[in-house]
Amino acid sequence: MPPDYVDPAPIALLEDARKHDQVWAEIAPRYGVTAADPPWKTSLSATCECLAAGGALASLDRRHAEDQLARSIYRDVSAPERQLLALAHTMLRRGLLGEDDLARRMQAVRTRLQAS
C-alpha cells in the first residue's frame, strides 16, 4: 500500500463546492460552448507552477497527492475540477491555506462575480 501523501479525509468546504456538480463537461454543452476546458484552467496551471517556483508546494508532491485523492475521495469528479479540488485539499491539509479564510474569500469572490 503506497504511503499517504495527504490526509484524504473529506473537507467540508470542498465537499460543499463540489456538491452541485458544476463541472465544465456538464455545463458547457448546456450553453452550447464547445471549448474543451473551462476558462480558469490556464490560471490553475499557472497557480501550480507558481507554487512550485516559490517553494510552497513542489510539483511532484502536488501530483502524488493529486493521484492519491483522484483515486479516493475525488474519483467521481471529472478533470480539471478534480485537479482543482486536489490542489485546494492539499494546500488546506498542509496549512498553506486556512479553511475559514478560504470560505470567506469564496463568499467574497462569489459576491463580486454576481455583482459584475
Partner: protein, 228 residues
C-alpha cells in the same frame, strides 16, 4: 457564453488570491505563467517535425540538440521566466522513429511533458491508468489507442521526468511526396508526437477519446441508483 458562476470558478479565484496575499507567489508571476500557458500548443512540435522531414541538416541538428532546434523555430524553453518553468527542465530530446523502431513517451511519476512544444498534456496522459500500464504493456495500451504495431517493430517507451523531456519524431508517411512544410505540419498531430498515433496523409486531427461509462461504477452505486 456560460451564465452561471460555478463553485469551481469561485474556488480557483479564491485559492489564487489567498496564495498571492500570503506571499506564496506574486500576481505578476502568475500573470506571466497564465499567459504562457495560453500561448503554448502542439503547433510548434508539428512545425519542428515537418521541417525535419524536409531538411536533413535541420533534422540532424534537432536530434543532437533539441532545445537549440526549438529555438531555431521560435520556441524558447527558457520562457516565461528566462530559466524555464519549474515543471519543464531545459533538457529536451527528440526520439527518431524508424520503420523498425517506434517510440512512445510517458511520465510514470507524474505527467512531465514537453509543454513548450506540445502545449498542455491531455488528461489521459496524466492518468495513472496510462502511466502505469504503458510501461508494462505498451503494445496493449497502444492498441487501445488504435495503434497496432507488427511484432518486428520494436516499441521503446521513454519515461520522462522533471529533468528530461522527450518528443517523438514519427516516420514521414507515404503519399506525402512533394508536400510543403505547412502541408506536412498539418498531419503531425499531438498524438503522433506522443507516440500513440502514426501520421497519415489523410489524417489532420487526433481521434476524440471516447468516454465509456462504467456499467457498475465504483462509488456511484449509492448516489445514483437507477441511472447508467
Amino acid at each position: 457564453m456560460i451564465e452561471e458562476i460555478t463553485d469551481f470558478e469561485v474556488l480557483e479565484i479564491a485559492v489564487r488570491e489567498l496564495a498571492i496575499e500570503k506571499g506564496l507567489f506574486t500576481a505578476e508571476d502568475h500573470r506571466k505563467f497564465t499567459e504562457w500557458a495560453e500561448t503554448i500548443g502542439p503547433a510548434g512540435g508539428s512545425r519542428l517535425v515537418a521541417k525535419a522531414w524536409i531538411d536533413p541538416a535541420f533534422k540532424a541538428r534537432a536530434l543532437t540538440d533539441g532545445v537549440a532546434a526549438c529555438k531555431e523555430i521560435g520556441i524558447d524553453w527558457l520562457e516565461p521566466t528566462g530559466t524555464g518553468t519549474p515543471s519543464d527542465y531545459t533538457e529536451f530530446r527528440i526520439l527518431e522513429d524508424t520503420p523498425e523502431l517506434h517510440h512512445v513517451i510517458v511520465c510514470t511519476l507524474c505527467s512531465c511533458y514537453p509543454r513548450p512544444l506540445l502545449g498542455m498534456s491531455p488528461e489521459w496522459y496524466r492518468s495513472p491508468n496510462y502511466r502505469r500500464r504503458l510501461v508494462r504493456w505498451p503494445r496493449q495500451v497502444l492498441a487501445e489507442f488504435g495503434l497496432v504495431l507488427p511484432p518486428e517493430v520494436e516499441v521503446r517507451v521513454e519515461d520522462s521526468n522533471q529533468k528530461c523531456r522527450f518528443m517523438v519524431m514519427p516516420v514521414r508517411p507515404p503519399g506525402t511526396d512533394g508536400w510543403t512544410e505547412e502541408q506536412l505540419a498539418e498531419i503531425v498531430t499531438r498524438d503522433c508526437m506522443i507516440g500513440v498515433a502514426l501520421p497519415r496523409a489523410d489524417r489532420k486531427a487526433d481521434d476524440v477519446r471516447p468516454v465509456q461509462k462504467a456499467r457498475r461504477p465504483v462509488g456511484h452505486a449509492e448516489a445514483r441508483v437507477g441511472t447508467d
